[in-house]
C-alpha cells in the first residue's frame, strides 16, 4: 500500500509520497539478508562524541550539554556497554559543573537553571553517578532544587520550564521524573498537576504542549481570590507525540497519588480523567503503513521520524496502568522479582524466532524494521529518516524505541506489594507523607521486564536492553538511585 493521495495532491501528500519513495528503497528485498543492528558503528559513534566532542555547528546545542551527555550515556546502557571508571568520573564532573548555585541544573556551566537540562543531568547521574564524595548523587542540592521547582509552579497546576519561560508539558514530565527519582514529590508540589495534564488531551486523543487557564473571582471574600474554571481550558497546539509521551508518563506517575491527595484534604475537587479510548486510537494511528516501514509519526498527516519510536512507540508500555491491554500483570507467573533482574546476558530462555502470541497494541515488528532498515546511518549513529545524518538525540530515542518494541516492561502488582511491605519509614516523617513517598517509590520500582516476553524481528542478535517506561533509564539504574534517595534496602 502506498500513499493514498485520492487524486488530490497537496503539499502534505507530495511530501509523504517523496518520503515513501525513499523509505521503500530501504526495505531489503525478500531474497536478501536483513540488516542488523550495527553495534560496532554505533558504539564508535557514541565514543567519538564523548571523547572528541562536537564541532562548531553544535553551538546550537550549547544549552543542551547535559542532554548530549544523557543521550550518549543511556545509549551505551541500552547497547549493554559499561564505561570505565575514569570516563564515568569525567561524566559526573561534567554534569556537576552545570549545577546552579540557586538550585537546579543549567544546560551548561554558568547557565540559568532549567527543568529540562535538570532532568537530563539527574538521568545522566543515575547512569554513571554514585553515592559518596565526588559521586554526584550526594552533591545534588536537593533542598534548593525543590525550592526551584516550587518557584516554577503556576496556579493552574502547571510548571514553567524556567523563570520567565514557557509552560510546557515536557517540563512537567522532566520535573516529576527528577522529583520521583530524588524523593522530592510532595502534595504541595503536585497539587492540580493531574488536572493540568488532563486539560492537554485534544479531540484527537493525543496531548498538546500546554493549555489556557481561565479564572473567575469566586466572590466569597474581599480578596481577589480567583477560581480556576474547569471549562473552557483549551489545549494550545495540536496532539503531538512528544507531548503525549510526557503527558501520559506524568499521568501514570500522578494517578496513584490522587487518592492520597484528596484524603489529605489538599484537593476537594473530583478527580480528573482522561479519555483512554481516544488516546489508544491516536497512538496506533501514529504508526506508519508498510510503505513507511512501520515507523511512527508525531502528528496526524506528518512524516514518520525515528524519535517517535520512543515518544509514541514507548508510550504503549504506559497503557497497562490505565487498564488497557489484555495481559494482566498479576496473571503472568514468569516474572522475575525486580531485585534479581541483572542486566541480561545471553540467556537461553528467549527464542530467536518471532513468537505469535504478541498481544501488544502496535506493530512491534514494523517498528523494529523501521529502526533497523531506515534509521541506522552506515557510518554509525541513528537518524530521523534517510538521507539525514545521525545525531545523539535520534540515536538514543531510536534505541529506546527499539527496546520498547523488543521488550514488555510492566508494573508487577506482587512486586509493588513486596516493596511496600519492605518499606522502611523515615524517622520523624508524618504518616501521611510517608504513605505518599512509599507510593511513589513502589509505583516507580515495580516496573519489571517480562521474562520470555521479548521479540526480535531478525533475531536476538539485535537485542538492546530494556528501558524503564517512565524514566527512560535502565531498570537497574532506577533501582540503585531510588534506593539511595529513599534510603531503602
Amino acid at each position: 500500500m502506498t500513499c493514498r493521495t485520492d487524486s488530490f495532491p497537496t503539499a502534505t501528500s507530495k511530501e509523504q509520497a517523496r518520503v515513501e519513495e525513499i523509505l521503500l528503497q530501504h526495505r531489503p528485498p525478500n531474497d536478501q539478508p536483513k540488516p542488523h543492528l550495527q553495534r560496532p558503528e554505533h558504539l564508535n559513534y557514541l565514543l567519538r562524541n564523548l571523547r572528541q566532542g562536537f564541532p562548531e555547528r553544535f553551538i546550537s546545542q550549547d544549552c543542551s550539554q547535559t542532554w548530549l551527555v544523557y543521550w550518549t550515556l543511556h545509549s551505551f546502557s541500552l547497547l549493554g556497554v559499561a564505561l570505565d571508571p575514569e570516563t564515568k568520573q569525567r561524566a559526573i564532573d561534567t554534569i556537576m559543573a552545570c549545577q546552579h548555585p540557586d538550585g537546579g541544573f543549567g544546560g551548561g556551566p554558568g547557565q540559568a537553571p532549567h527543568v529540562l537540562p535538570t532532568y537530563a543531568a539527574i538521568s545522566a547521574l543515575a547512569s554513571v553517578g554514585r553515592a559518596g564524595p565526588g559521586g554526584g548523587w550526594d552533591q545534588i542540592d536537593r533542598l534548593k532544587l525543590y525550592k526551584f521547582f516550587l518557584s516554577l509552579k503556576q496556579r493552574d497546576g502547571s510548571f514553567l520550564v524556567a523563570h520567565h519561560s514557557e509552560v510546557d508539558v515536557r517540563g512537567t514530565y522532566c520535573l516529576l521524573c527528577v522529583a520521583a527519582l530524588l524523593n522530592l514529590i510532595t502534595p504541595e508540589l503536585i497539587k492540580g498537576t493531574a488536572e493540568f495534564i488532563a486539560s492537554l488531551q485534544t479531540y484527537e486523543g493525543g496531548f498538546a504542549s500546554a493549555s489556557q487557564p481561565y479564572f473567575s473571582p469566586d466572590g466569597s471574600g474581599e480578596e481577589e481570590e480567583e477560581v480556576l474554571l474547569k471549562e473552557p481550558r483549551p489545549a494550545l497546539g495540536e496532539a503531538h507525540g512528544g507531548y503525549t509521551f510526557c503527558a501520559l508518563a506524568s499521568w501514570v506517575m500522578l494517578h496513584p497519588l490522587l487518592p492520597l491527595l484528596s484524603s489529605s484534604g489538599t484537593s476537594s475537587e473530583q478527580q480528573p480523567t482522561i479519555n483512554t479510548r481516544n488516546l489508544v486510537r491516536w497512538l496506533v494511528q501514529m504508526q506508519g503503513s508498510e510503505a513507511e516501514l512501520g515507523g511512527f509519526r508525531g502528528r496526524t498527516n506528518k512524516l514518520v521520524d525515528a524519535c517517535y519510536s520512543w515518544w509514541v512507540g514507548g508510550a504503549f508500555n504506559l497503557l497497562r496502568p490505565l487498564g488497557v491491554g489484555t495481559r494482566s500483570a498479576t496473571s503472568v507467573p514468569t516474572t522475575s522479582p525486580p531485585t534479581t533482574t541483572p542486566p541480561k546476558g545471553e540467556g537461553k530462555e528467549e527464542e530467536d524466532a518471532w513468537t505469535d502470541d504478541d498481544e501488544s497494541l502496535f506493530n512491534r515488528a514494523g517498528l523494529q524494521e523501521y529502526i533497523l532498515y531506515a534509521a541506522q546511518h552506515k557510518a554509525g549513529g541513528l537518524r530521523d529518516k534517510p538521507p539525514k545524518i545521525a545525531d545523539s538525540y535520534h540515536t538514543l530515542y531510536s534505541l529506546a524505541g527499539l527496546a520498547s518494541a523488543q521488550h514488555n516492561v510492566f508494573q508487577v502488582d506482587e512486586t509493588k506489594e513486596k516493596l511496600r511491605a519492605a518499606w522502611k519509614p523515615k524517622e520523624g516523617d508524618d504518616p501521611a507523607l510517608d504513605e505518599f513517598h512509599k507510593t511513589v517509590f513502589a509505583e516507580a520500582r515495580a516496573w519489571t521486564e517480562e521474562v520470555g516476553g521479548s521479540n526480535y524481528v531478525n533475531g536476538k542478535v539485535d537485542r538492546v536492553n530494556a528501558t524503564h517506561p517512565i524514566f527512560n533509564l535502565t531498570i537497574t539504574h532506577v533501582r540503585l538511585i531510588m534506593n539511595h534517595f529513599y534510603a531503602q534496602e
Binding site: S7, A11, I59, C63, Y214, A235, E238
Partner: protein, 397 residues
Amino acid sequence: MSSRTSSPDFPPLYAERPEWSDVVPIPQNDEDANPIAPIFYTPEYKDATDYFRGIVKTGEKSKRVLELTESIIRLNPAHYSAWQYRYQTLLSTSSSLSDELTLMDTYATEFLKTYQVWHHRRLLLTLLHQPPSSPSPSSPTPTTTTSPTHTPTTTPPLPLQAELTFITSALRTDAKNYHTWAYRQWVLSHFSRPELWSGEISFVESMLDEDVRNNSAWHHRFFVVFASGVREGDEDREEVRRRELAYTKEKIALAPNNGSAWNYLRGILTHTHTPFATQADFVLPYTLPYPSPSQTEPLDKDVDVKMTDEDKDTDKDEKNSSPENTVVDLENPRPEAGADLPSPLAIEFMADIYEERGGKEDVLSAVELWKSLRDEHDTIRKNYWEFRINDALHPSR
C-alpha cells in the same frame, strides 16, 4: 575553526572593545576541567558567552547588556539564559517594548523553530497590552499567568490584529510550525477579544484551502469553534454543529483518506454528544471499493476513471457556481472521482457506528469490518484491530 580576522564584517570581539574592559569575562569551565562531550566554539561565541557569564555574575542590567544578549541570541537562538536575562534587562532599563517587538519580527522569521523566540513575544505582548481589555460578557475572563510590574510608558500598543497578521505571514513560510500555532492560540485565548476571534474561521479555511491535510489548521478550527467557549454570534450551537459537519464532510469528499478531517468529524460528534450513527449514510460510500454511482455521475466506472483528470477542474467550477446541480445530497457528499477507496478510516468509522449501536448483529458487523482492516485494508495495525475485536466480543476486560 573559522578565522574571524579574515572577515571585516564582524564587529570586534567584546574582549577588544574598550567600553567592555571593566567586565571580567568568565570562561565556561575551570582551567583544570576536562569535560566530556565538549562543543568546539567559534571565537565569537566563546567571547560573547564569556562576557555574558561575567555580566550575570555582577548582575549588571544596562543598555549594553541588550547588545550582548542580542549577539548571543543571533549566534544561538536557543540560549534561554540570554533570553531570560535580556527580558529582565528590558524591564530594568525601561526599554521600549514596542521596539523590542519590532526587532522580534525579524527574529521570528529567522529562528522560526525555537521556543524562545515565540515565548519572548508572548512576554512582550503580555506587558504591552496589560491589563487586558474587558472581554465580552459571553467570554471567560482571561488572566495572566505571571504578574510583572513593568508599565509601558513610551509608545501606545500596536493593535493585536497586527499580531495575528504577523503570525499568518509566519505560517505561510512554515504551515505546520507547532510554536507558531500554539502562540496564535494563546493570543486569541489570552486576550479573548471579539474582533480577534471574528476572523479566525475564514483564516482557517484559507489555510485548509491551501492544504486540506494540514492537521494544525484542523486543530485550530476545533480550538476556535469548540474548545474555547461560546462567543457572540455562535450561541446557536445547533447551527454551529450543522455548519461544522457540512464543512468537514465536504473536505472528506475531496480526499477520503485524510485522517485530519476524519478526526475532526469524530471530534465534532463527541463534543456535541451526537451519536456516530447519525453519519451512517454519509460514511457508507467511503467504505466501498469505488465511488458508488450517483445521479450526476456516469454509471460506467471505466468512463468515470477516464474522465477524472480532464474534468476535475471544470467539475469544481461548476460546483462553485451551481452546487445544486452536481451535489445530490448536500448533507452527505459522495467521494470525489479519483478517490482511493475504500478508505480504511471510513471502515473504522463504520465499525464504530455498529459497535455504538450495540446489538448482537451490529457487533458482528463491526467485527467483520475490523477483520477486513486487519487482513486487508490496514494491516500494519492488525494487533489493534484484533484488540478491538476481542474487546467487542468479550467486553468484560
